[in-house]
């Protein structure tokens, strides 16, 4: 791909735009990270282990899932499979970014892969689709800017939660903080009827499969939900009158 406007000034200006767009996510990521630190402390992890968890894995929902299954003494392979199932959406983000960033050098793509998060992905894809004529350098600059406020917040607030952990009173019903966090994450994603059908099918199947040991019902329900969503999408597209 020819990069006609690959001047540093363009990339720098898009880096600043990325910073501006990424900054508000600090408000979501901060409390979420504190919560992980608190719950991990309650599960018996020390500060170093908690920080390592956040730096090595850098994926909130998957970390919560792994933590919860480990406290339930699920087999290690089930912990890994379930948490990776939660993180499958990262493969989708990666796939979706590929047409925009696939031409970058390998070392940059390797870094982008590590920093592919819900927030950085959402920022970047929105901007790339709105301004399809951005140069590759501008896209990279924008991505770097969008991710910069979020990542130190994730690391730092995880540690803050770990240090605060023992001082959070029992009466705060932290057992339910996790379900609320996941519901809050998923609610804004229910954009189309197909997304709603996928969610509905996954809820019904997860309740029916609740007796399946070690949360394997999760994977069954997730696959059913994805198939229902894909089927529904085909159906809605077929029903729409041709342009």
């Amino acid at each position: 791909m020819p990069t006609t406007t690959s001047k540093t000034t363009g990339a720098a200006s898009y880096f600043r735009k990325g910073l501006r767009d990424g900054a508000p996510f600090v408000l979501v990521v901060g409390p979420f990270a504190v919560l992980f630190g608190v719950l991990a402390t309650e599960a018996g992890l020390n500060v170093l282990e908690i920080l390592a968890f956040s730096v090595v894995v850098i994926a909130g929902a998957a970390q919560f899932t792994a933590l919860q299954l480990m406290t339930e003494n699920a087999p290690t392979v089930v912990v890994l499979a379930s948490a990776l199932a939660v993180n499958l959406r990262m493969a989708m983000y990666s796939a979706s970014l590929t047409p925009w960033l696939g031409a970058a050098p390998l070392w940059q793509r390797a870094l982008i892969a590590y920093f592919t998060l819900d927030q950085s992905y959402a920022c970047a894809i929105g901007r790339y689709e709105a301004e399809p004529h951005m140069s590759l350098r501008e896209r990279i600059g924008y991505f770097a800017g969008a991710v910069l406020p979020v990542v130190p917040t994730w690391y730092g607030c995880t540690v803050a939660g770990a240090l605060l952990g023992s001082r959070i009173p029992e009466s705060m019903a932290l057992d339910f903080a996790l379900p609320i966090t996941f519901l809050a994450l998923v609610a804004p994603m229910l954009r189309t009827p197909a997304h709603m059908i996928a969610a509905f099918v996954s809820i019904v199947v997860s309740l029916l499969a609740a007796g399946v040991p070690w949360s394997l019902g999760l994977i069954i329900a997730a696959v059913c939900g994805m198939m229902a969503g894909a089927r529904a999408e085909l159906w809605f597209v077929a029903k729409r009158p041709a342009p």
Partner: protein
């Protein structure tokens, strides 16, 4: 209590696995096109996985010994409704937490 060797196996295994999920497409596929059916299924990953993770805990919470609990169900419904209406993760989180706190204090 979580066994320490299990913990480190999970941290490293989950880190490697998550990185591979993030790297495979952008790193290895590059500019080559992907089959439409695969992308179509991947689009529904998040909305299929996260609700399945939560639903059993909403209906049969561990904290009540598996007894359905009106405060937790109300908090779940409010979180979903506010998150859906506002499109804002933080608004849903806050509304759900507030609902749970108020309902539990009324019950207690």
């Amino acid at each position: 209590m979580i066994d320490k060797s299990t913990l480190w196996i999970v941290i490293i295994g989950l880190g490697l696995g998550s990185y591979l999920l993030r790297f495979t497409f952008i790193g290895l596929v590059g500019d080559r096109p992907m089959p439409a059916w695969l992308l179509r299924h991947l689009r529904y990953t998040a909305v299929a996985v996260l609700p399945a993770l939560v639903a059993p805990q909403v209906v049969w919470p561990q904290a009540t010994g598996g007894e359905p609990d009106i405060a937790r169900m109300a908090a779940a419904v409010v979180t979903l409704a506010v998150g859906y209406r506002t499109g804002n993760v933080f608004a849903g989180l806050f509304a759900g937490a507030a609902t749970l706190t108020v309902m539990l204090s009324l019950a207690g």
